[in-house]
Amino acid sequence: MASEKTKTLNRRQLVAGAAATAGSAVLSGCATALGRSPGRTREGEITVWHNWSGVTGPRFVKVAAAYEKAHPGRRLRLVFTQNDLSTNQKFFTSVAAGTPPDVTFVDGPQVASWAEWGSLEPLTERIRSAGIRAEEYFPPTWRQCEYRDQVWALTCSADPNFGFAWNREAFRRSGLDPDRPPTTIDELTEVGDRLTRVEQGVLRQIGIIPWAQYGPANSIFTWGWAFGGEFYDPETRRITADHPRVVKALEWMIQFAKKHDPARVESMRQGFGTAEQNPFYSGKLCMQCLHIGGIGDIERYAPDLDYGLGYIPAPPDGEARSSWVGGWCMSIPRGAAKPDEAWEFIRWLCHSEEGTALFGRTMSVYPGMRHSPYFAESRSRRYYGDYVRILEDSRHQRPVMPVQAFYMRELQRAVEAAVYGRMTPAEALERARKNTQAELDLALAGA
């Protein structure tokens, strides 16, 4: 009997102990959430979610250190966050959970989407009281931050998309004048054909792959605008993917696919790596649209490459000196704990002479702010100077509307369908227009 009683007591104690343990675990969990959660920062410290990795990662850390040095009492907690047009789960979840960072980088074309879904704080008031004016920015870099009469971000890096690069050595080998790159689409086609070499049914050298300029969607943007087309009408909020000029551009793009089996072209392209195995360095691919980051890559991986850089060729009735702007913006997420300190950092990096110059110099990218001293330094440098001019002439940015990722995917599908001969360019682009318009209408209706 006595032993039975002890047993019961023991069991009761055990249960109580278990409950106490569980309870304290729950309580300590709460304490963590309310008190010193991992997202909580010290006095004067803000959390910055950024996208600089690889060689740019350590460079960004240097920029941040310079900010801390120039601003005593301020500290930046840098967190690398994978962020591209299609993967922002981490950011959205953090905003939904009420624990966003204080500053986030946002891809230019995403600003409208992120603003529409309510994940950003508008900066309009702060910008006004800081006396920042739209004219101080390259027009596309300002436009991409403005949505529904509010400004949601400042452009930090402006990528002039793209420079047109040609391998001068390959030109010489094929008996072409390396100082005379193609300037019209007809010339580009002709030179492209001359530079393309097939041996025993296998492609050995290609002039240019029109649909492979940083992905099918970026390719159609690039050539579509060069042909004089337009992708979106912000006034009427109509998608215009099937603009006659865009259709013309796609018709031209797939000519190469008609001459050479696209699976075969892609096969050859698959052998290309990015960085050091880039086919442009080896002369397997003779011409391509080059992102500004490409200069640094070439300096690093193929310092002896003899190449020229200029404007993208365009048809005579298209848009001369055509280019568009991509790049990264900075924003304050909705619910950020320290928006004032966040704004101070954003303003320094995007809109101060020392911040923009340091950022440009360290990261080899251009600021969105026109009067940054970095431009004066770059103008006379080989290649970099070309990009300054391309940026100044730039007229476009990707459509400022909330279903950007969807539109990119539809454009990619359209280009692929046309390249592989499943649809005519007109049909493919009409499908992209129809699907994206439906998606946009749904989003604008608040769905």
Binding site: R11, V15, W117, A263, S267, Q270
Partner: protein, 305 residues
């Protein structure tokens, strides 16, 4: 006999002790499984962008789904994959298991070799296969060249060959099923084979009428798990195509499309509707297999299938 007061009290105490011990599991199940599942059912009737509150729209997501051409494309891709990958996987796994069951020397070494791919992380394996599939310098087309195929398929770059390529990848991972079959084969009574041999059965007859019935439960198990896995097929397609599902939508599998809808477009309501339709399809396929197989599956212990 009516339990005494004391007995009842002790019973109650025992009950609560049990509940206390099971509590973490119960809470976990309710909070991390039941709640999300039920919430996703609710969201499937809503427009829900995660950052804004869900808004009830009734059947709109489901109606939209059945008018969405990409839904049918993704379904077709998935069914295509399941129709080839699952049966081929079973045949290959069974074949390997039969070979390993012949009592070859160094059995453990072979078993390890065939099982190792199943231990490799899926993403790492997929990246590796991207290299093998490279049309110009990949190992597969190199091998084909030895057999006189001058220009092998474009594999992942070709709309016609991308699905067969991914099916080939899936066959690399049959190690798990192979082990299941191997275990089953080792349970087949030797006396039956001997008896069949004495009665003049050839090797094939012995396999067909002795081995196969004995391992039919394993086949059913592998078939059903394979089907469920095929319907949820995602990771390699995502890795091998960078999530684009290309070329020309040829690798847009159901789960890949669902992922894009959910996490690229943030149409969580639509994605939830897709997930529930997927669940119903998997359920239906599993039931069909279970019902139609009842007569063909033999349980040695005498339980009903």
């Amino acid at each position: 006999m009516v339990p005494t007061k004391g007995q009842r009290r002790r019973q109650r105490e025992r009950l609560w002790t049990g509940v206390a011990f099971a509590l973490p599991a119960i809470v976990g199940l309710l909070w991390f499984t039941a709640y999300p599942v039920l919430a996703s059912l609710y969201y499937s009737f809503c427009n829900y962008r995660v950052l804004t509150p869900p808004r009830w729209v009734g059947m709109a997501n489901y109606r939209h789904l059945f008018e969405d051409p990409l839904f049918y494309t993704s379904l077709w891709n998935t069914v295509y994959y399941a129709a080839f990958a699952v049966p081929l996987g079973i045949v290959l796994a069974l074949g390997l298991a039969l070979l390993l069951n012949t009592g070859v020397k160094g059995l453990a070494v072979y078993r390890t070799c065939f099982y190792v791919p199943s231990v490799v992380p899926i993403v790492a394996g997929a990246v590796l296969w991207i290299w093998l599939f490279r049309p110009q310098e990949g190992a597969i087309n190199d091998m084909l060249r030895l057999f006189g195929v001058r220009e092998g398929p474009g594999w992942l770059q070709s709309p016609e060959w991308s699905k067969p390529a991914i099916i080939m990848w899936s066959l690399w991972n049959v190690g798990g099923s192979m082990l299941v079959f191997l275990a089953g084969l080792q349970d087949v009574p030797k006396e039956l084979h001997e008896a069949a041999g004495l009665d003049g059965a050839k090797r094939w007859d012995s396999f067909r009428h002795v081995t196969l019935p004995f391992i039919s439960p394993q086949i059913l198990f592998v078939l059903i798990m394979g089907l469920i896995g095929a319907f949820q097929f995602f990771t390699p397609a995502y890795v091998m195509t960078n999530g684009t599902g290309g070329p020309v939508d040829s690798t847009t599998f159901y789960s890949l499309y669902l992922f894009n809808v959910a996490f690229s477009d943030f149409k969580m309501g639509y994605a939830c509707a897709m997930a529930w339709v997927l669940l119903l399809m998997v359920l239906a396929a599993t039931l069909v297999v279970l019902k139609s197989s009842a007569r063909h599956v033999y349980y040695a212990g005498g339980e009903q299938g």
